[in-house]
């Protein structure tokens, strides 16, 4: 009886986890920008999720496990910050313009970009902003879910998301310019 219950739980967890695993690893890789660290983070998130699976409310597994992964990432990040004692990870200090005034619509220009270029541009966004952008625009989490995952108020999520998108857009346009998709004057 005990074994059957454990096996059923394991099967259920594996089915859910396997379906979100590529997304989970992708998020870990985009957050850490290091394959080994991402693998470690993903494994840890899976283990933690399995151990806490009894507390899963049965609604959105992807959001639930992403919250675990994000929490782990933030905790490691904070720990590393304490150890390093110098690198500021507070995204609020990463001052970037909200948007370039007078910038032209860039849909056509950016459509030329490929995945690797987008990933590289995303990597340039400061960590807290990047986290908000990844969870919202790639993983499709709501503000509330992002606030829950990153342990900040919804107002901070809105602000980080707006800033993160603006920084990302800027980085994308810079990449497009460097790759010759657009000329320097096109975006000014």
């Amino acid at each position: 009886m005990l074994f059957r219950r454990t096996d059923a739980k394991r099967d259920h967890f594996e089915r859910l986890s396997e379906s979100v695993f590529p997304s989970l690893f992708g998020t870990a890789l985009r957050l850490t920008r290091d394959r080994e660290e991402a693998s470690d983070l993903t494994q840890e998130a899976i283990i933690r999720a399995y151990e806490a699976f009894d507390r899963f409310d049965g609604r959105n597994f992807n959001a639930w496990i992403l919250r675990i992964l994000t929490n782990l990432y933030i905790n490691r990040y904070r720990q590393r910050k304490r150890e390093a004692g110098k690198e500021s990870l507070d995204a609020e200090h990463a001052a970037e313009p909200m948007a370039d005034e007078g910038i032209s619509p860039d849909r056509v220009l950016l459509d030329e970009m490929v995945g690797a270029e987008v990933e590289q541009a995303l990597a340039l966004v400061p960590p807290d902003f990047r986290m908000a952008v990844i969870l919202s625009d790639i993983e499709g989490l709501t503000y509330e879910e992002i606030a829950d995952a990153t342990q900040v108020p919804i107002g901070t999520v809105r602000s980080r998301l707006a800033r993160g998108r603006a920084i990302l857009r800027r980085a994308l346009l810079q990449y497009a310019q460097e790759r010759g998709y657009i000329r320097a004057g096109d975006v000014e």
């Binding site: 396997e18 690893f25 899976i46 995303l122 809105r158 707006a162």
Partner: protein, 237 residues
């Protein structure tokens, strides 16, 4: 700042319905805000299109192995947790059983060379010449060994039965101890050829062997090799 956050809310699909008319009015009156909206939608669309999930079957396999390890540990913990009282009772029974066995002298049914002096102290003195009242065992051939039975004694010591035989050949008197129901001898050293165990009992050389679920010990004031020769003759049928 406020306007741009509202635009982002709209792009994210998080703009409250009651604020939609307000944002629409802002967009109609402000062309740069419309460009901002279009840019944000483009960025969002680009991320959704280009940043795909990243399959990693090898890592998934590693995760499954770790889950297996967790399940294994949980099963053991669950079993122990469920049967803890049973296991404790079982262990207690085993301990009690071992204690009882040791107390009753049944553990391994072994004889220690150190037990023999105490055992002999309850018997008549060595070579006292008491007449034989107990027949020697079938396993031993006194006649072939040219041994004369001088005396025999049967008794019990600490719950163990034993027999003593004083026998004599041309070299002198020897004492033979027989302990039925035992199959192990402790506290003695195996002889060179491995056929006997040798040692000293009450300052006399002694050779011992087991046969038909009984222990024999032959001791006397002579060389151990001579004792072994006498034992060889005794054991020939």
């Amino acid at each position: 700042m406020k306007e741009q956050e509202l635009i982002n809310d709209l792009v994210s699909g998080e703009l409250p319905p009651e604020r939609v008319p307000e944002v629409q009015a802002m967009l109609e009156s402000n062309p740069s805000l419309r460009d901002e909206l279009q840019s944000m939608q483009t960025v969002r669309g680009l991320l959704a299109k280009q940043c795909q999930p990243m399959p990693n079957p090898e890592l998934w396999s590693q995760c499954r192995s770790r889950l297996d390890a967790i399940d294994g540990t949980r099963r053991v913990e669950g079993f122990v947790g469920r049967w803890q009282y049973g296991l404790a009772a079982g262990l207690l029974c085993v301990l009690l059983g071992v204690g009882l066995i040791q107390r009753n002298g049944l553990a391994g049914r072994g004889v220690s060379a150190g037990d023999i002096p105490a055992l002999m102290s309850s018997a008549p003195a060595f070579g006292s010449g008491r007449s034989a009242t107990v027949a020697p065992p079938d396993q031993l051939n006194l006649r072939r060994a040219n041994l004369q039975l001088l005396a025999a004694f049967e008794g019990r010591h600490q719950g163990r039965s034993f027999r003593l035989y004083d026998v004599q050949d041309q070299l002198g008197v020897m004492r033979l101890v027989e302990m039925p129901g035992h199959s192990k001898i402790e506290g003695m050293t195996r002889s060179f050829d491995g056929r006997y165990l040798t040692g000293t009992v009450t300052n006399m050389p002694c050779v011992a062997w087991t046969e038909d679920d009984r222990v024999f010990m032959l001791m006397g004031g002579r060389d151990p090799l001579q004792l072994e020769s006498a034992a060889d003759l005794l054991r020939q049928r």
